[in-house]
């Protein structure tokens, strides 16, 4: 019972947190399915459900794997849920007793609206009791979910999260469907804004169906992949299937803007720019292992350099003026120059700074990021970059008459550069330079002793990564057409770092995924704009604690990050489980196993 109670308490506290932050009270009208399932309701039900799921996780106790029987699991889940509900219910009672207005004078989101919603007019104790009961049921459901056989659980899980995903994307999917001129009123209700029940059921069934198919067919594919990995091969092999899949994927990527319309293309364009930034930072942080917290430096440098090279004008409070340095080059001539400028800057800055120890480097790079932001806003550089008013009339990278400012055209421009960066990164990773970086990353002193010139390779990573970042900045300038310093904040460095980390450090598909998730999703889920940073911070912490290798991990880095656990596994496997061999050495000692 104990773990169930603990999880339940944590879940209850989390619910209180969400209520205090406003994620429940402000979303009581956000319909997900029909009018019955709103975001607020979802929160209130999902948290105890997850609590039940977590509480019944198999544990290792005294060297044995403990699992729960379905009945016991349900009980533990129910208890866990009930505790969560009770804790939250106690909160409701407390607020009611203390007086909502008094609590609200401190915690702004604990409002009468919230309380009305939670109690539905009933006395607080009754409401608390109801919450407890609902949570108990949810907890039991969560626990039972885990206990279901795989064949049932996977489709059910898919059905649920796919349906919810479509419910969340209620502002975007209908637009895409409209573009494709597909009848969509049966799926998304114009009145409630969310999914209709009919639509929800259809999606759930389809998702479940696909999941079932995947299980049957996928088992064979997965077995093949696993077998290959065990044999030690590291890359995908060419098979007819993989070629077909790649072509299909390629086709989808290429026609996306036509199909999805300009709004989604606009978001995808930003995703591409940030993916490019991520790829650049990936080289610095992911490949060479340098702690760079000031990547906004290159982003800003690239954007403003491009503007100055292609004849943008400065905004002044009465109109515009020419920057003191202004050339009128074509975009495609300017980009290589931007690359050179960035690389040179990278080398000049890197030279004194890169030999510093990791944490010092982090601080110095952070400082660099701050410095450039201050500089482009400063009155001192107004004649060059326009200060707070910014710059305007940035080139649209036109080829002949064909401009790239339209979101659907820009997508292709950005895609081309992303593809190029992917190519460059991938070639670097598997080249001698990449191996030097790996050596550098894993143990700098040893690498040095082996004759790898650490400073040179660090400089190279910094310069190349910086160059790619600058191109990202240049593209950003083209996309928006204007530059205001507000777009260039230290936060950008942190966001790009988040993309690399979340996606998978050192992993190229990971960076793309990271950008889709961290830039694409918020771009599409505009209702949650206020909570973006909150979710972001939580996501970063969660990823670091639970899955530091990211969503789409790079196998090698994954191994590095879980070195201790892998060593332990190896020790258990080789030393302990081998019959008759007594453990003589401690697990940590065996580095190479």
């Amino acid at each position: 019972m104990q773990p169930g109670v603990r999880v339940g308490v944590i879940a209850g506290v989390v619910t209180i947190f969400l209520a205090a932050v406003g994620l429940i009270g402000n979303f009581t009208e956000l319909n997900i399915i029909g009018e019955e399932v709103t975001f607020a309701q979802l929160m209130l039900v999902m948290i105890p459900l997850v609590a039940g799921f977590v509480a019944t996780a198999p544990k290792v106790e005294a060297g044995e794997l403990v699992t729960f029987t379905p009945q016991r699991a349900a009980m533990v889940g129910a208890v866990s849920g009930a505790v969560a509900g009770a804790v939250f219910g106690a909160f409701v009672v407390f607020v009611d007793a203390f007086g909502v207005e008094r609590v609200r004078s401190v915690f702004l989101n604990v409002s009468p609206v919230l309380m009305d919603y939670l109690t539905s007019g009933r006395p607080a104790l009754t409401a608390a009791a109801i919450l407890t009961v609902i949570s108990a049921i949810a907890g039991a459901a969560g626990a039972t979910y885990r206990a279901l056989p795989d064949a049932v659980r996977r489709p059910l899980g898919s059905a649920i999260w796919v349906t919810l995903l479509f419910g969340f994307l209620q502002r975007i999917v209908p637009i895409a469907l409209d573009q494709l001129e597909v009848e969509r009123d049966w799926l998304y209700s114009k009145i409630t804004g969310g999914l209709t029940w009919v639509g929800a059921i259809v999606i759930a069934l389809v998702a479940a169906g696909i999941s079932v198919l995947k299980q049957q067919k996928g088992g064979a594919i997965r077995g093949a992949i696993v077998a290959r990995r065990d044999r030690g091969a590291e890359g995908p092999r060419i098979t007819p299937l993989s070629i077909v899949l790649m072509l299909v994927g390629l086709a989808l990527v290429l026609i996306a803007p036509q199909v999805l319309g300009s709004v989604i293309s606009d978001v995808l364009g930003t995703v591409m720019v940030f993916a490019l930034l991520g790829l650049g930072l990936n080289i610095v942080v992911g490949y060479a292992g340098l702690l760079d917290l000031g990547y906004v430096f290159f982003f800003t440098l690239g954007a403003y350099s491009l503007a100055l090279l292609t004849g943008a004008t400065l905004n002044t409070f009465i109109g515009s003026s020419e920057p003191v340095i202004s050339l009128n080059l074509n975009f495609y001539v300017a980009v290589p120059i931007v690359v050179v400028i960035a690389a040179v800057a990278g080398v000049l800055i890197g030279a004194p700074v890169l030999r510093l120890r990791g944490d010092y480097l982090a601080l110095v790079t952070l400082g660099l990021g701050e410095m450039i932001v201050v500089l482009v806003t400063s009155p001192w550089l107004v004649p060059l970059v326009g200060g707070p008013q910014g710059m305007r009339d940035i080139t649209s990278a036109a080829i002949g008459d064909f401009g790239f400012r339209d979101p659907r055209h820009f997508y292709y421009l950005a895609l081309a550069f992303v593809a190029l960066a992917l190519f460059v990164s991938s070639r670097l990773a598997s080249s001698r330079v990449g191996r030097a970086w790996t050596a550098l990353r894993e143990d700098e002193q040893v690498a040095d002793a082996m004759g790898v010139s650490t400073t040179s390779y660090k400089l190279l990573a910094f310069a190349i990564g910086g160059a790619i970042g600058s191109v990202g900045g240049a593209l950003f300038a083209v996309k928006i057409g204007s530059l205001t310093p507000a777009s260039f904040q230290v936060l950008v460095s942190i966001q790009v770092l988040g993309i690399v980390i979340l996606g998978g450090i050192g992993s190229l598909p990971g960076v793309i995924t990271g950008s889709l998730v961290l830039v694409g999703l918020p771009g599409l889920l505009r209702e949650f704009e206020e909570y973006r940073l909150l979710a972001y911070g939580a996501a970063v912490v969660a990823v670091m604690l639970l899955r530091p290798e990211g969503l789409v991990p790079n196998v090698r880095r994954s191994r590095e990050l879980h070195e201790d656990e892998l060593d332990q596994d190896r020790w258990v496997r080789d030393v302990v489980l081998d019959e008759g061999v007594a453990p003589t050495a401690s697990p940590q000692g065996e580095g190479t196993g």
Binding site: E234, L254, V263, D266, F317, P388, P407, T484, A486, E529
Partner: protein
């Protein structure tokens, strides 16, 4: 080196992408103009509204984040305008030409990217007749005004004050605003300092936002034209807390007046710190500081601080504002307006509605055809319209608040919650763009 086929594929994408983009389709053309009865050939086409369909009006305001109050205030003003279509404030929207009005609200986030996203979303909807917005000039300048202008969709703002938006070089043909141009406010501040305060030396502080930089630049230019000297023009960061070094530095120049039109957080701190460092210098600020929060945070430091802001007492035309509008606002939204811009947006919405009425062609089947260019022309032709905020006459460059009345209020008698009464301005002047630099 391992054979990596997917690289070749990826590299091909670069080439294919450019080819693909050259073959791509454009957005569907705006709904055709040749079908309707309109004689004019409208290059941006006509918005066709079916007999039972609502008239879709876009709204691009900042409704999330730190500046949300600014945008929400204006959305409220717009909604009140919808309400008032039937001539009374009864919390039920009226109809225009027999059609309901629906608002498509987008969040512009007070940044250029946000403005781009909001404008793109609205521009993609061919049924949008016009857009009321943006809140922040940075979301409009070069971004919102251009994207919407390319589709012939009018962007009509109630709070963009950046002069550049209606300047010769930067003005977009489909952009207009009812908000005052900052050049006017800056000029009146300078005038007040020179004439009423007898100042010969002025120092200014602005922050990293274009709004405050524009205001101080305008004030400085007009102050110098009046034979004054500008001793310092300092820039601070709005998130800083220690302004004592800057203030001390400014104090060395011995100015008579310090004009610091920054926002509440920095403004409160500057007011408090200036009391210690430059007690004899007169401090001025503007709307950004005019808030009950400033009074709460700065306390006594607001005494004797002069704030410039559009003169609300001008709104008392026939007591409409105080007797009908304000109570209606209070009733529907539960609090008093947080800024003056709600009134500007109310006016902009009404001007737009009037223009729609003027140019819309009512077809026999009950549908409407609204030619875009004609709509724009009608708005720009507005002259002598009596709005809440004054007489509205639009210039060719989109400034519809041509005669702007700015009032100067002495703290603590500011017209906000917590301010002392009487909250009438100690100085008020009306200027138009020709009068200022």
């Amino acid at each position: 080196m391992k054979h990596r086929p997917w690289l070749t594929v990826v590299a091909t994408v670069a080439a294919l992408a450019l080819v693909a983009s050259a073959c791509s389709n454009d957005d569907p053309a705006p709904s055709g103009g040749t079908d309707s009865e309109t004689a004019a050939v409208d290059e941006f086409g006509t918005v066709e509204i079916g007999p039972d369909d609502p008239i879709n009006v876009g709204v691009a305001q900042v409704i999330s984040g730190a500046d949300a109050a600014l945008g929400q205030d204006q959305v409220n003003g717009i909604e009140l305008a919808l309400d008032y279509l039937d001539g009374k404030f009864d919390q039920t929207p009226g109809t225009l030409l027999g059609h309901q009005i629906e608002l498509a609200i987008e969040d512009e986030g007070c940044t250029a990217e946000g403005g781009q996203a909001a404008a793109t979303a609205l521009a993609a909807d061919p049924s949008i007749v016009g857009v009321l917005g943006t809140s922040c000039s940075s979301a409009a300048l070069g971004v919102g005004d251009t994207i919407l202008g390319e589709k012939g969709i009018l962007l009509f703002s109630g709070s963009n004050t950046n002069p550049a938006l209606t300047s010769e070089e930067a003005h977009q043909p489909f952009y207009a605003r009812t908000a005052h141009n900052d050049r006017i406010q800056g000029a009146i501040v300078a005038e007040y300092a020179l004439n009423e305060q007898g100042a010969t030396k002025l120092a200014t502080i602005h922050d990293e936002s274009p709004y405050t930089q524009g205001l101080t630049a305008a004030a400085a230019v007009n102050f110098e034209a009046g034979d004054g000297t500008v001793t310092a023009q300092e820039q601070i960061n709005s998130e800083d807390t220690d302004f004592k070094p800057v203030l001390r530095s400014i104090a060395e120049g011995d100015p008579d007046v310090l004009y610091a039109p920054v926002f509440v957080a920095a403004c409160s701190l500057i007011l408090k710190q200036a009391v210690e460092i430059m007690p004899d210098v007169t401090i001025m600020a503007s709307d950004g500081c005019m808030s009950s929060d400033t009074i709460k945070n700065a306390g006594d430091a607001v005494n004797g601080v002069f704030l410039s802001s559009p003169d609300i007492s001008v709104f008392q035309k026939g007591d409409f504002y105080s007797n009908e509008f304000l109570p209606a606002y209070q009733d529907q939204f539960g609090s008093a307006p947080t800024s003056v811009f709600h009134a500007h947006s109310f006016d902009a919405t009404n001007v737009l509605f009037d223009a729609i009425e003027q140019v819309a062609v009512e077809n026999d089947d009950g549908s409407l055809s609204i030619p875009r260019t004609a709509l724009r022309d009608a708005v720009f032709a507005t002259s002598g319209y009596e709005g809440l905020t004054g007489i509205i006459t639009c210039t060719e460059l989109g400034d519809c608040a041509t005669d702007v009345t700015i009032g100067v209020f002495e703290g603590p008698n500011w017209p906000v919650d917590g301010g002392a009464k009487p909250d009438t301005p100690v100085y008020s002047d009306t200027k138009s763009l020709e009068d200022v630099l």
